[in-house]
Amino acid sequence: MARIKLQDVHKHYGHGAAAFHALRGVSLEMPSGEFVALLGPSGSGKTTLLRAVAGLETINSGQIQIGDDLVAAPGRHVLPERRNVGVVFQSHALWPHMTVFENVLFPLRESGLNEAQARPRVMEALAQVELQNLAQRTPGELSGGQKQRVALARAMVANPRVILFDEPLASLDVELRRDMMRHIDQLCRPDSSMMYVTHNQEEALALADRVVVLFDGHIEQIDTPERLCREPQTERVARFVGSGNLLAGRRVGAARDGLAPVAVGDYSFEARDASLGSQAQVRLCLAPTAMARVEPGLPGLSARVEHVFFQGNAYAVDAVLQGVVAEPLSLVLPFEAQPRRGDVLRLQVRDAWVMPEGRHNA
């Protein structure tokens, strides 16, 4: 498995004023064995980026390196079939006229092995996705989850330098998703590089070593899942990844040990602060789970409940802050909180993050 390096990759469709810029200068370096998720809303360029690495799209400028090979640069485009990558497509893309075995055999045979040499490797790959018993079936006889597992086996059988996933779970239902995630997770070995495109933050956070958040064709933030959720660098990331609530606040003291005393209205609390900034006005990011309901008399923020969505073990609540001008808060409250529409909640902030300055919405 190999290091992947993208430098200032640009891609646009069409020309002049009508051009659509899918990628606007993307640079990224993936060490060998890393699992990177590309996360972003539709139209953010994540699929284009993946297809550019696979060689299914040409790029307009910049360069892409896989291992020591320069696979894409101005005037250079190594064909997909010569890049030695594996792809798991959204719609599985199995060939209906071949059996499961033949589908998985295909990459090996194209790399020059005959069927006898390749058979053990095909069966090993099928065993990894627990499908060795269905080798002689055709894709039409498989369930959606099984098809996607065959696609997974096909993608990894030839030991590609990188496995690319293009929203592989999008067409599966929730139960199968979890199962498929286990299979993908199992593939993760120190020597396998993976690039995983999704618009579903849950998948990205669960599977990836690092998450790349894309908006409008450029990278907004690259971080581990934990840091991405706890320390979003821009407001768009805060909203998109953690459905974080953004509030205007002010500093009420000097930061110490990474914690800064801040206040919203007349309620003051501590917020994590890495900005080393000194401006009085700050933007605060509060995760939906970072606020707890407390007795009405205690210090805290007051918010009136607008909508309640029961979720089995918790409530998702939309609430409007009272006495402070802000967007509606989205909260996740435990079962004991028992919120009802129209209630006025007293909320204590348990955790907050001071948004870095100067990197507000680009």
Binding site: Y13, Q90, A93, F106
Partner: protein
């Protein structure tokens, strides 16, 4: 960027440099094929027409163009063109509305019996209709109607030509209107219903306006086909000296040989001009016919004629069956008739005419071999070419090839005489470097067929590609495999039904082809169409009928084989399926 010129050729997401030599080489070959066989004849024809009008032959050419013969033939061409188109329009439109919008039964037979008219060789159909006349006339005379002695075959007239053209080309209108109707969303009709509109109002105010563009487009196509048809006016017009432009050109060329080429050229330019007019109208209206209301497709017939439904269906079934079977039975009867003047009974059926054309006559046998080789050859070559063209157009989205697409249709849509003249002009002189001429060889007909039938083969392959999920081809690309290996192991197996169906359609049409080969054949390179025509002109109606019966059997075999591909084909590939 420097690669932009090339990406115009190969489309986006494609090979730009490095290892794409194979793909670029094949693209180059495809472009060469298109240039040589499809575009060159048209360009050359235009240039030569211009030269003929101003060159050293100009006086003779202008004389031809303004001669009484040319004027009369042009007038006749417009007459039968407009007449046939009008008939095809009304007949095709009414039939399409009835079959698509009401629960017409037996739908499959209705569609089949109606559409097959366009696939039967027109010259054989014309022959069959004329065979219908004699038995009728004899019967009337036997009944004591002596005055019938003096009546000549009423089909051998302008009206006869119009009638047969109308029946032959009504399926073109039918198919475009039906496609337009099937593309309507049921909600369009339901919305009118819930507003309280009566079926009559819905038809007049909703459905007809929506299918009007496709109707006009179908009519324009029928017009171009009517003015280009050679078989029907040849059989029904030449005996009564009612000449249209294609038959006049044929007479000039067969009478005076290559010396008549400049005259034939300008006459064919008149046909081409009329055809261009029709094709322009067709293109404009075909574009307008595309509405974005195809979210859901019309599946069930939304209307019912109530008590009238069954009787109307019955009458139409009998009508289309009669129109199809009566002339064919007359043709069959003629082909097994024992001899002139002897009445046909079940006891004295004779297969002499079949053994004559199949076993005892070198010329007819040769025609069979020629036609079969031509049709097999063009089917195979076009199948391969269309695979690579469709790959570039659909998968690589090659901008250049997509722009060329309308031109690929031109050699099929233009009147056959025009194409034939273009081929003569191109290949009369010895080929550069090689030093020999293709004129009077089978090759010139073969090249004409390659140009004429490319679109027939390409269309099903293109819809096969469109139906194939793009992912599957991308997966093949990612997991290794050169273009040829992908073609062989992934694309061809997946798309084979469409390719085969296209090849069978090409075979069917080239087996039945007359217009082009009538002008291009020489002794030794006769085709089946030429053979029927020649036998009939030589007074051997029975032998001509036998050849006609065999052609129709070959047509049916091609259709049957294509039908067996059945559900594995994209919708609309086989026009005769309901």
């Amino acid at each position: 960027m420097a690669a932009d010129g090339l990406s115009l050729l190969v489309g986006r997401g494609a090979v730009v440099s490095g290892s794409g030599a194979q793909e670029r080489g094949l693209l180059g070959l495809a472009l060469l094929f298109l240039g040589l066989f499809t575009l060159l004849p048209a360009v050359y024809l235009a240039v030569q027409t211009g030269l003929a009008l101003v060159g050293p032959t100009r006086e003779a050419v202008w004389a031809t163009l303004t001669s009484a013969d040319a004027w009369r033939a042009s007038r006749h061409t417009v007459e039968v063109g407009l007449g046939g188109t009008l008939l095809a329009l009304v007949y095709g439109l009414v039939f399409a509305l009835f079959v698509t919008l009401t629960p017409a039964r037996p739908r499959q037979w209705l569609v089949f019996a109606f559409v097959i008219q366009a696939l039967l060789p027109p010259q054989v159909v014309a022959l069959a209709w004329t065979q219908l006349w004699l038995p009728l006339k004899n019967m009337m005379i036997a009944q004591g109607w002596d005055s019938w002695q003096a009546i000549s075959n009423p089909l051998q007239s302008r009206e006869g030509i119009i009638l047969l053209l109308g029946i032959h080309y009504a399926p073109l209108v039918f198919l475009t209107v039906r496609a337009g109707l099937l593309n309507l969303s049921p909600e369009v009709i339901e919305a009118a219903r819930v507003c309280g509109a009566s079926p009559r109002t819905i038809l007049r105010r909703v459905i007809l306006p929506l299918v009007l563009p496709s109707t006009v487009a179908g009519g324009a196509l029928a017009f171009v086909s009517c003015i280009g048809n050679f078989g029907i006016p040849a059989f029904l017009g030449i005996p009564g000296d009612y000449l249209v432009l294609p038959t006049l050109i044929y007479r000039e060329l067969s009478g005076f040989g290559p010396a008549a080429i400049p005259n034939a050229l300008v006459l064919s330019a008149v046909v081409a001009l009329l055809a261009a007019l029709g094709m322009g109208v067709q293109r404009v209206f075909l574009k307008r016919g595309r509405f974005d209301v195809i979210a859901a497709r019309l599946k069930v017939a939304p209307f019912d004629l109530g008590r009238g439904q069954q009787p109307v269906a019955l009458v139409l079934t009998v009508w289309v069956s009669l129109l199809l079977l009566a002339p064919l039975l007359a043709l069959l009867a003629k082909s097994v008739s024992p001899g002139l003047g002897i009445p046909l009974t079940m006891q004295n059926l004779s297969l002499d005419h079949f053994s004559y054309v199949l076993l005892h006559n070198d010329a007819t046998l040769r025609a069979f071999v020629n036609s079969l080789s031509l049709s097999l050859g063009s089917a195979v070559v076009l199948a391969v070419v269309s695979l690579f063209l469709a790959y570039q157009m659909e998968y690589r989205r090659s901008v250049l090839l997509r722009r060329l697409m309308p031109w690929i249709e031109v050699p099929y849509v233009i009147p056959g005489v025009v194409l034939a003249i273009a081929m003569i002009l191109l290949y009369l002189k010895p080929l550069p470097l090689l030093g020999w001429s293709l004129y009077n060889t089978l090759w010139i007909i073969f090249f004409a067929y390659l140009a004429r039938f490319l679109t027939i083969q390409l269309r099903p392959v293109l819809s096969g590609f469109m139906q194939m999920p793009r992912d599957m081809l991308e997966a093949a690309e990612v997991f290794g495999g050169s273009l040829l290996s992908r073609m062989r192991r992934i694309i061809v197996p997946l798309i084979l039904p469409s390719v085969t169906a296209g090849a069978l359609l090409v075979m069917l049409l080239s087996l039945n082809e007359l217009t082009v080969s009538a002008l291009l054949w020489a002794s030794g390179t006769e085709t089946l169409g030429v053979l029927v025509f020649g036998l009939e002109q030589g007074g051997e109606s029975a032998a001509a009928s036998a050849v006609g019966v065999i052609s129709i059997l070959l047509t049916l075999i091609c259709m049957l084989l294509a039908s067996r591909l059945g559900r594995r084909l994209p919708e609309g590939v086989l026009p005769w399926r309901a």
